[in-house]
C-alpha cells in the first residue's frame, strides 16, 4: 500500500510547480528535497554574518507570469524588490552602455547601432514568441507522433509561416550560426555586441563564436516575450520565490519533506515502484517524477544496470559541461564604479567589454583552466533590497564565466588565486572595491553541483544546444516528460524546454502526466 500517488524527487522550482499542478488535479504528492530549503537553485543563503544572497540564480526574467498567477505566488509571499532593471555594460573608463527594453544609451554607440537595434530587437522578439509557443507545450515526438503532436507541429509550422517569408528565411539562416557573426552583421559598438552575445552564452559552455549561441540568445529573449523588459529582483532573494512556491504547493495539499535525499529510484521489471531514501526508508508510489537532472536521475538514481543499453548510451552522451561560477562578496559599503551614477548601482551590471573578451574567457575553460579575465553578470541586491545586508553595507553577487569544473590539480589549488583575480577584475571597474570586502565566497561549478545536485553544476541541467532541445531533450526516447521506465517522469530543467527560473518544464510535465495517466 502507498500513501502517495506521486513521489517527486527534488523541490526545485520546477519540482514544486509540477507538484502543485498535480495536487490540484487531485493527486497525493510528496516532494522529497535533499536541501534544507525549497526552491533548488532558486535559493537565498547567508554567506557571511548578516549578508544574504541569491546563492545560485539571481535574476528573475523568465518565470512565466501565467504560472505566477495560477499558483497565486504573490498571495503566497512573492514580492518584487525591483523589476525591469536595465543592463549596464561597464566600461573601465566610465563610458557605460545602458540597455533597457528598446532604449539604448551610451556615448560610444554609432548612428547605425541606434538605428538597427530597435528593428533587430523586434525581429528577435517575433522569434522568441514562436519559441515561447513551442516551450509552452510538450515537444512533438521525433517519430510516431499522434494527432496532438501533429497539431503542435502544425502550430509551429504555421507560426513559422506567419512570420512571413523574410523573417522565416532569416530565422533559418541565423539559427545555426553564432552570435559573433550575427552581431558583426548588425552593429558597430563592441560594447553592444558583447552585451547581447553574453546573453547567448550565459550558462552554457560556449563562446560568442560557438554555434547554438543564437538559439541561446533567443531562449533568453523569451523573458522579454513574457513581459520582462529587464531582469527582476525578488525581495528576500530567490529563496523567497522558493518559499512562495512551497507555500502554494502546501496550500494545494503537497507534502514537502526537506533535508530528505533520495538514494535511489526503485524499479521492478522496467516499471518504477518508488524510491529509497538515503536513510534507508522506502516510499512506494506508482508514479515518480524527478526534477533532478537526467544524468543524475538515470545514472545516479535509477542506475544504468536497471536500464536498457540504448537508454544508457543516450544518457551517457548528454553534454552537461558547465563553465559558470558564482562570486559572492560582503562589502562594507557601496562600491563605486567609475563613471556610474550611484542611482544605477541596483541595475544589472555586466563586465564584457568586447566579444573577443568573452571568447578569450571561454578559451580557457576549454582546457579546464580559469579565465584570466572572465565575463561577469553582477547584481548588488542590497541596493534594491536592504534586507540582504546590514545597514549601510552591501552584497555583490556575480555570475562568472568561465570557470572549469575540474581544473588541473583540483579546485583547492585555484580557489584563492581565482577569487583574487576576480577581485582584480572588479577593481578595474570599481577602484577600491577590494578594500571594502569583508567576506567572500566563490562557488565553482563543482560547488554548485555539490550544493544543488545538478550534474556538472550546469545551469540548464544539460547543455541547451540544438541537438539537445525540443524532441531531443533530454534524449530521444525520454521526450514528452516520460522515460523508458514506465511510471517515471522528468520535470526539471533537463527536460523541454530547458533551464532558467522559468517553470515551464514543471508546468508542462504536470499537464502531460495528468493526460497520460488518465488515458492509462
Amino acid at each position: 500500500m502507498t500513501d502517495h500517488d506521486v513521489v517527486l524527487v527534488g523541490g526545485g522550482h520546477n519540482g514544486l510547480i509540477c507538484a502543485t499542478y498535480l495536487a490540484r488535479a487531485g493527486r497525493r504528492v510528496t516532494v522529497l528535497e535533499a536541501g534544507e530549503s525549497p526552491g533548488g537553485c532558486a535559493a537565498t543563503r547567508e554567506f557571511a554574518p548578516g549578508f544574504s544572497v541569491s546563492s545560485c540564480a539571481q535574476w528573475l526574467n523568465q518565470l512565466n507570469p501565467e504560472i505566477i498567477r495560477e499558483l497565486s505566488l504573490e498571495k503566497h509571499g512573492l514580492q518584487w524588490a525591483a523589476r525591469n532593471l536595465a543592463s549596464v555594460s561597464l566600461d573601465a573608463g566610465g563610458r557605460h552602455l545602458v540597455l533597457q527594453g528598446e532604449q539604448l544609451e551610451g556615448e560610444r554607440l554609432t548612428a547605425r547601432d541606434r538605428e538597427s537595434y530597435p528593428s533587430f530587437r523586434r525581429r528577435m522578439l517575433r522569434y522568441a514568441k514562436l519559441l515561447a509557443t513551442a516551450c509552452g507545450t510538450r515537444p512533438p515526438k521525433l517519430v510516431e507522433s499522434n494527432l496532438a503532436d501533429r497539431l503542435n507541429l502544425v502550430k509551429l509550422g504555421l507560426g513559422l509561416k506567419m512570420l512571413g517569408r523574410e523573417d522565416m528565411g532569416e530565422l533559418m539562416r541565423i539559427i545555426l550560426i553564432n552570435m559573433y557573426d550575427l552581431m558583426e552583421e548588425h552593429f558597430d559598438s563592441e560594447q553592444l555586441k558583447a552585451l547581447l552575445s553574453l546573453h547567448g552564452v550565459l550558462g552554457s559552455h560556449m563562446g560568442p563564436r560557438s554555434p547554438n549561441t543564437v538559439f541561446g540568445y533567443l531562449y533568453h529573449c523569451m523573458g522579454e516575450h513574457h513581459g520582462y523588459l529587464g531582469p527582476a529582483q525578488v525581495q528576500g532573494g530567490m529563496g523567497a520565490l522558493g518559499n512562495a512556491l512551497a507555500a502554494s504547493a502546501r496550500d494545494a495539499g503537497v507534502e514537502i519533506r526537506l533535508g530528505t535525499r533520495v538514494a535511489g529510484i526503485d524499479t521492478r521489471a522496467g516499471r518504477v515502484v518508488g524510491v529509497t531514501l538515503s536513510g534507508g526508508e522506502q516510499l512506494r508510489a506508482p508514479l515518480v517524477v524527478s526534477s533532478a537532472d537526467p544524468v543524475t536521475t538515470f545514472e545516479g538514481l535509477v542506475g544504468y544496470r536497471n536500464l536498457e543499453t540504448g537508454t544508457v548510451r543516450r544518457v551517457s552522451q548528454i553534454r552537461y559541461k558547465s563553465g559558470c561560477a558564482k562570486l559572492h562578496l560582503a562589502l562594507s559599503g557601496a562600491p563605486q564604479f567609475t563613471g556610474l551614477d550611484p542611482s544605477r548601482l541596483g541595475q544589472r551590471l555586466v563586465i564584457a567589454p568586447e566579444m573577443d573578451y568573452i571568447e578569450r574567457a571561454f578559451n580557457a575553460v576549454k582546457y579546464q583552466e580559469c579565465s584570466a579575465e572572465p565575463a561577469m553578470d553582477i547584481s548588488i541586491p542590497s541596493v534594491n533590497d536592504p534586507t540582504m545586508a546590514p545597514p549601510g553595507q552591501h552584497v555583490l553577487s556575480a555570475i562568472v564565466q568561465f570557470a572549469p569544473y575540474a581544473p588541473a590539480g583540483g579546485w583547492e589549488q585555484h580557489r584563492a588565486s581565482f577569487t583574487s583575480s576576480l577581485l582584480d577584475c572588479l577593481e578595474h571597474y570599481a577602484p577600491g572595491i577590494s578594500a571594502q570586502v569583508v567576506g567572500a565566497e566563490l562557488l565553482t561549478p563543482a560547488d554548485l553541483e555539490a550544493r544543488h545536485g545538478m550534474k556538472g553544476g550546469h545551469w540548464h541541467h544539460g547543455e541547451l544546444s540544438l541537438d539537445q532541445v525540443m524532441m531531443m531533450r533530454p534524449f530521444p526516447g525520454a521526450t514528452q516528460y516520460g522515460t523508458p521506465v514506465a511510471g517515471l517522469y522528468l520535470c526539471g530543467a533537463g527536460s523541454h524546454p530547458g533551464g532558467g527560473v522559468m517553470g515551464q518544464a514543471g508546468h508542462n510535465a504536470a499537464r502531460e502526466i495528468i493526460r497520460r495517466e488518465a488515458a492509462a
Binding site: 521489471a269 522496467g270 545514472e299 544504468y304 536498457e308 543499453t309 540504448g310 544508457v312
Partner: protein
C-alpha cells in the same frame, strides 16, 4: 586486441599454412576480415564428409569476447534475451541479443567457462555495443578473436577421430557441454557444439599450437576419412539443419540503414530464446509490446517442390506476394529442397501451401518456375546421433 576491420587487407588465421595447402581449388572468400576457403576440393564431397565421416572447419574468424568480473553474469543477463542464470558452468548456450527496440542485433553462443568467466561468440563485431552495455557493471571485456584459434570438427565419426587423437572420454560429453584437455602443455578446450546439426565438436586453443593441432587431428582422423570443408558446404549443412545465419536471414539491427528491415526474435522463430520473465534485458519492453500487439512477420521453413533451390524467391499466396526467401538449398541427405522465408503474418502457419517464384538462368536464358511449397514444422535434418550421449560409435 584484434586490429582488423572489414576493409583492410584480409588477415590469415593461425591455421593458414595448413588450410592453404589443403585448399586445392584456391577458392577464397572473406569472413569478417579474414581470408577463408569457400571450398577446398569439391563442395559436395566436403558436405558429405560432414554428414558421413568428419569435416573440419576453421572458425577462428568468429568474433570472441571474454567477459569476466563480479558482474559478468548480470551483465550478460541484461544483454541477451535468454536467462543466463540457468546456464551452468561448463555449459554453452545459443542466444540472440536485441537493441532497445527489440530488434535482433546478432545471434551467438555463450560459453560459461568458470565462475564470473564467460566467452561470447558473435557473428558481428560487438565491441561498441558491449562497452556501452558495460556501463554500470563491474565487468572486463576483452576481444579475444585473434587470441583463440578454433576448429569445428563435425560429423558422425568426429568423436571417434578426436578420441583417437587422445581426447579420452569425449564420448561422454553432452551436447552444449564443455571439456578441457591438456594439449602439448596448453589447455585445449572442447565444446560439443557446431553449426551443422550433426554430431560435432569445436576445439579452442592458443594460436601458437594451431598448426600442431591441425596436424595431429588430420593424422588421427585419417582412418575416419577426415576432410576439411569450406563455407559453401557449411551453408548447405546449416540450412538442412535449420540454422539461421546473421547477415543473411536477418540484418543485424545496428547494421540496418532502412526503417523496418530488422526483425525481432519472434519474427525469426526464436521465441524459445526469449525469457520475458527476466525482469530486465535489452529489448524486453519492446518485445512485451510486440507480444501484445502482434508481430509483422513469421519465419518459416519451406519444403519446395522440385530441385531448384528457391534462391531470392518471392513467396506468393495466389497472386499476392507475401514473403521472400532468405536462404535456400537442395539438401542432399534429407533429399529435400529447403528454403527459409520471411512471410507476412498471418501467413506461414504450418501446413500452409504457398508458391515460390523461382528464377534461374541457363546459358543466358532466364526461366521462371512457380514451385508449390509448404510450411514445415521442423528442420529436415535432425538425426538422433546429434544428441545421443555417449556419442554413438562409428
Amino acid at each position: 586486441m584484434n586490429s582488423t576491420s572489414d576493409d583492410t587487407m584480409l588477415l590469415t588465421t593461425p591455421f593458414h599454412s595448413r588450410v592453404s595447402r589443403a585448399c586445392e581449388l584456391n577458392a577464397w572468400g572473406s569472413w569478417k576480415g579474414y581470408t577463408t576457403p569457400k571450398a577446398y576440393t569439391d563442395v559436395e564431397l566436403e558436405y558429405f564428409a560432414i554428414r558421413s565421416t568428419t569435416g573440419v572447419f576453421d572458425l577462428t574468424p568468429m568474433n570472441k569476447y571474454r567477459i569476466t568480473g563480479p558482474d559478468a553474469g548480470p551483465f550478460l543477463n541484461r544483454l541477451v534475451t535468454r536467462n543466463v542464470d540457468k546456464l551452468g558452468i561448463g555449459r554453452v548456450g545459443y542466444t540472440v541479443w536485441c537493441d532497445d527496440a527489440g530488434q535482433v542485433m546478432d545471434d551467438g553462443t555463450i560459453f560459461h567457462l568458470g565462475e564470473n568467466d564467460y566467452r561470447l561468440c558473435a557473428y558481428a563485431r560487438a565491441t561498441d555495443w558491449l562497452f556501452w552495455s558495460a556501463l554500470g557493471f563491474d565487468v572486463n571485456i576483452e576481444d579475444e578473436t585473434a587470441a583463440v584459434a578454433a576448429l569445428a570438427v563435425q560429423g558422425p565419426t568426429s568423436c571417434a577421430a578426436l578420441t583417437a587423437m587422445g581426447l579420452e572420454g569425449l564420448a561422454d560429453l553432452k551436447p552444449f557441454g564443455l571439456a578441457e584437455y591438456d594439449f602439448e602443455g596448453e589447455t585445449l578446450m572442447v565444446s560439443r557444439t557446431g553449426f551443422t546439426g550433426d554430431l560435432g565438436y569445436e576445439l579452442w586453443i592458443t594460436p601458437r599450437l594451431a598448426e600442431t593441432l591441425w596436424d595431429r587431428l588430420f593424422e588421427a582422423g585419417a582412418p575416419y576419412l577426415i576432410k576439411p570443408f569450406g563455407s559453401d558446404a557449411l551453408e548447405i549443412a546449416r540450412i538442412e539443419a535449420g540454422f539461421l545465419q546473421a547477415g543473411v536471414d536477418f540484418v543485424p539491427a545496428e547494421e540496418a540503414v532502412r526503417n523496418g528491415r530488422t526483425r525481432s526474435p519472434f519474427e525469426l522463430g526464436l521465441d524459445w530464446l526469449v525469457d520475458l520473465d527476466k525482469p530486465l534485458f535489452n529489448g524486453r519492453q519492446a518485445l512485451l509490446r510486440e507480444r501484445e500487439q502482434g508481430s509483422r512477420y513469421r519465419f518459416v521453413l519451406l519444403d519446395v517442390d522440385g530441385n531448384k533451390p528457391a534462391h531470392n524467391s518471392f513467396i506468393m499466396k495466389g497472386r499476392r506476394k507475401v514473403g521472400t526467401v532468405t536462404s535456400a538449398a537442395w539438401c542432399p541427405t534429407a533429399k529435400s529442397n529447403v528454403a527459409f522465408a520471411q512471410v507476412e503474418l498471418p501467413h506461414g502457419a504450418v501446413g500452409e501451401e504457398l508458391v515460390a517464384e523461382i528464377y534461374y538462368q541457363r546459358e543466358l536464358h532466364w526461366t521462371r518456375v512457380l514451385a508449390p511449397c509448404r510450411v514445415i514444422e521442423a528442420p529436415v535434418f535432425n538425426p538422433p546421433r546429434r544428441r545421443a550421449t555417449p556419442a554413438l560409435p562409428f
